[in-house]
């Protein structure tokens, strides 16, 4: 067990810090929260900066256009960009964390060449078309159909929770290509251009008041068969590769951010006198231990992924994170909700102010035990896949 950084890692961190120190002050002011085209442009420009500086696709293998960095370097990158207050991955999220890694792992050479470079450069934005009205936790129940017509699929159905759909160029889409096969066997993974005829997007407003998700209606959309990644009807396996990324290192920056918020809560409580409330104060102390441990768990998972990392080959984007991500997500999603409940205690009646960033944080924290696998589903995963309890009931 070694928690110190190697010389190489220190040098990497130093170089990154220097670069962030130079580049961040030169960035324009971020766009308004509901200015989606503005946000796309802003996020894409930041991605281009990262690309030019050699930080795009840091942990992607070199043959996918990445930098082949170690998981620890990737962790350092996420930690330092968050600490420095760099822009979030934002609109590039699906491309960089879902679609890109999936194409890198499962795509043909032509597909990799077509789609990966624009993701890394920030030229093309992706969205995710997985969930459906009747396929949420039970993703394999998806019903969007893709019927073969010559060298095209004709796709019809409804997708839900498609983030950044309005500004995306591409959608990673799960469709049912064999309605007669067992549920998990008749699914395929397609890259669908968002400007194809028949695609209609309707923004979906969340309880937090924002509209970053959308419903997507597909009415006989023609998608070339060459846009299928992986074999026909093999989309479930391809998807599981993608989802396991979502449950991996995606939260590193957030844990760093939560620890910063925690410090700010303590200082705000001191300033407004609520620090004298021992119940609040001790609750913050407990959260301090909680988030410190979550950070250690992140380091543990990253080190484990590093150890398991294959020495080459296509699937090696930092090693596919395992079920340990479920343990992390279960505890983190709850701790995040507790953090923002503590923020409400610090604010008192001020917690009724919708314009306060901590109140917005409190509202959005509610989605953490739901999105990307509810806590109920995560507990099933931990119980069945890690503890070996029997399936069923």
């Amino acid at each position: 067990m070694d928690l110190t950084c190697t010389e190489e890692e220190d040098a990497f961190r130093e170089r990154l810090r220097r670069w962030l120190g130079e580049v961040l002050p030169t960035l324009p002011a971020p766009p308004a929260a509901d200015d989606w085209p503005g946000r796309r442009a802003y996020d894409a420009a930041w991605q281009r900066r990262l690309y030019d500086a050699g930080y795009a696709g840091l942990h992607w293998p070199e043959d996918a256009g990445g930098r082949g960095a170690t998981p620890t370097q990737h962790l350092i990158f996420l930690e330092e960009t968050e600490r420095a207050g760099a822009p979030y991955v934002g609109a590039n999220f699906v491309g960089l964390l879902h679609a890109g890694p999936t194409i890198a792992a499962e795509g043909s050479d032509a597909q990799r060449a077509r789609w990966l470079p624009p993701i890394l450069r920030g030229d093309e934005i992706w969205c995710q078309g997985f969930s459906e009205p009747d396929a949420g936790s039970d993703l394999a129940a998806l019903r969007t159909t893709a019927v073969r017509d010559g060298d095209h699929y004709v796709v019809s159905g409804t997708k839900l929770w498609t983030s950044h759909a309005e500004v995306a160029d591409w959608c990673e889409l799960l469709v049912r290509t064999d309605p007669d096969a067992p549920r998990h066997r008749g699914i395929s993974w397609l890259a669908m251009p968002m400007d194809a005829p028949g695609v209609t997007v309707r923004p979906l407003r969340t309880l937090a008041g924002s509209a970053e998700f959308a419903e997507m209606f597909l009415d006989e959309v023609r998608v070339p068969v060459s846009h299928r990644v992986g074999a026909e009807n093999d989309g479930w396996r391809v998807t599981m590769v993608t989802l396991s990324f979502e449950r991996g290192t995606a939260f590193v920056g957030e844990v760093v951010a939560c620890r910063r918020v925690l410090g700010a809560l303590a200082r705000a409580a001191r300033a407004n006198g609520r620090w004298d409330d021992a119940v609040l104060r001790r609750g913050l102390g407990r959260l301090h231990a909680e988030f410190a441990a979550l950070w250690r768990l992140t380091q543990w998972n990253v080190s484990e992924a590093g150890a398991a990392r294959p020495r080459g080959g296509r699937s090696g984007i930092g090693g596919v994170p395992g079920t340990g991500g479920s343990v992390f997500k279960l505890r983190y999603s709850q701790a995040r909700q507790e953090l923002y409940d503590a923020a409400a205690q610090v604010l008192g009646a001020g917690a009724l102010d919708a314009d306060h960033e901590w109140v917005a944080g409190r509202l959005s924290s509610l989605s953490y035990t739901i999105a990307a696998g509810t806590s109920q589903i995560q507990q099933n995963i931990v119980a069945e896949r890690i503890l070996g309890l029997p399936k069923g009931r």
Binding site: D134, A141, L207, G348, D353, A354, I370
Partner: protein, 328 residues
């Protein structure tokens, strides 16, 4: 002892539910999210139905019922998410002319909070400010001033306030920047606070009961993995605990309406706040992604529950009062 609703009480409950279902159904609720100002016509109708004059003596043109009746009505209002300064109008009927009939709408706010928040500022014609009291209600009072002083009445346009973005779409708020002390009102402050807490708790109870219904209905309808999700123990047990919280709060609130005791009301507020907030959260969880949308009713319950929990005795205040009672 017979701790069950009488037939009259059951009838009152049913009539109120019917009235609100007819005049403030799902469409009106959806419309209110965009424009939460109380509907003046509905307000007058509620006035005509005795909603605000419930506890006024019949001599004074009231219905002559007691606190339990008000609690049943407020439980229904909480269930229906009816917007407006309900507690203020209930408690000031008979004190401020025109409130009992629903002609006039007044606000009531606690000067002891930070910030001092005013519900429905654009709607209220007057604002009544309660200054006294360190926390919840205190029947003993602190001298004569504690019992009757510290309440001021002001015309709405005399109150200085700053905009405040309310987390609850159904309850616009303003921050009062300068406490107006225009016209003192001789009111029993501890009683006012106690009744405000109880009526707020009754709304929380109604909200808690409604979110159980919403969660159960969704769990029976929504299918995943080839079965209604309500067939899975994880969902079952969430719903069961929601009901337990509701029924515990119900007993506490109903009993406090009968005894009108400080400690009973304090405990009822604590348990009803917890039931409303935690049930709304669990209701979001049971609904999954659908509970996270603006269109779903459930976030309105959560946000209003948060708001009510900050009014008229917070959890921390309640726990301290209850603790003090243990060694009194």
């Amino acid at each position: 002892m017979d701790f069950q609703l009488t037939e009259d009480q059951r009838a009152l409950q049913g009539a109120t539910r019917g009235l609100l279902a007819g005049r403030f159904g799902p469409d009106r609720l959806r419309a209110a999210v965009g424009d939460p100002a109380p509907d003046r016509a509905l307000w007058r109708e509620l006035g005509a139905a005795g909603f605000f004059a419930l506890r006024l003596p019949e001599e004074a043109g009231g219905v002559g019922l007691g606190l339990p009746a008000a609690v049943f009505v407020f439980e229904e209002a909480g269930r229906a998410l009816l917007p407006g300064p309900l507690v203020a109008c209930q408690l000031l009927a008979g004190v401020v002319d025109g409130v009992a009939s629903g002609e006039k709408i007044v606000g009531l706010c606690e000067g002891t909070r930070d910030p001092v928040l005013w519900e429905h500022p654009a709607t209220c014609e007057e604002l009544i400010l309660v200054e006294k009291g360190t926390g919840c209600h205190d029947r003993a009072g602190r001298g004569a001033q504690g019992r009757t002083g510290g309440v001021y009445r002001s015309a709405a346009d005399r109150v200085s306030c700053a905009p405040f973005a309310s987390v609850d779409p159904l309850t616009p708020l303003a921050r009062v920047t300068d406490l107006p002390r225009t016209e003192p009102l001789a009111l029993d402050v501890p009683r006012l606070r106690r009744e405000a807490a109880l009526l707020t708790a009754a709304q929380q109870l109604g909200s808690a009961a409604r979110t159980v219904e919403l969660a159960v209905a969704h769990a029976r309808r929504r299918e995943q993995f080839g079965a209604p999700i309500g067939a899975f123990q994880a969902i079952k047990h969430l719903c069961a605990q929601m009901l337990v919280r509701t029924e515990i709060a119900r007993c506490a609130v109903y009993a406090a309406s009968v005894t009108d005791g400080d400690i009973d009301v304090t405990g009822a507020k604590l348990l009803a706040d917890e039931a409303a907030v935690r049930n709304a959260r669990d209701c979001v969880q049971v609904h999954g992604g659908m509970g996270f949308t603006w269109e779903a009713e459930v976030h309105l319950h959560l946000k209003r529950a948060w708001l009510r929990a900050e009014c008229w005795c917070t959890a921390g205040e309640a726990e301290e009062l209850l603790a003090a009672d243990l060694i009194a």
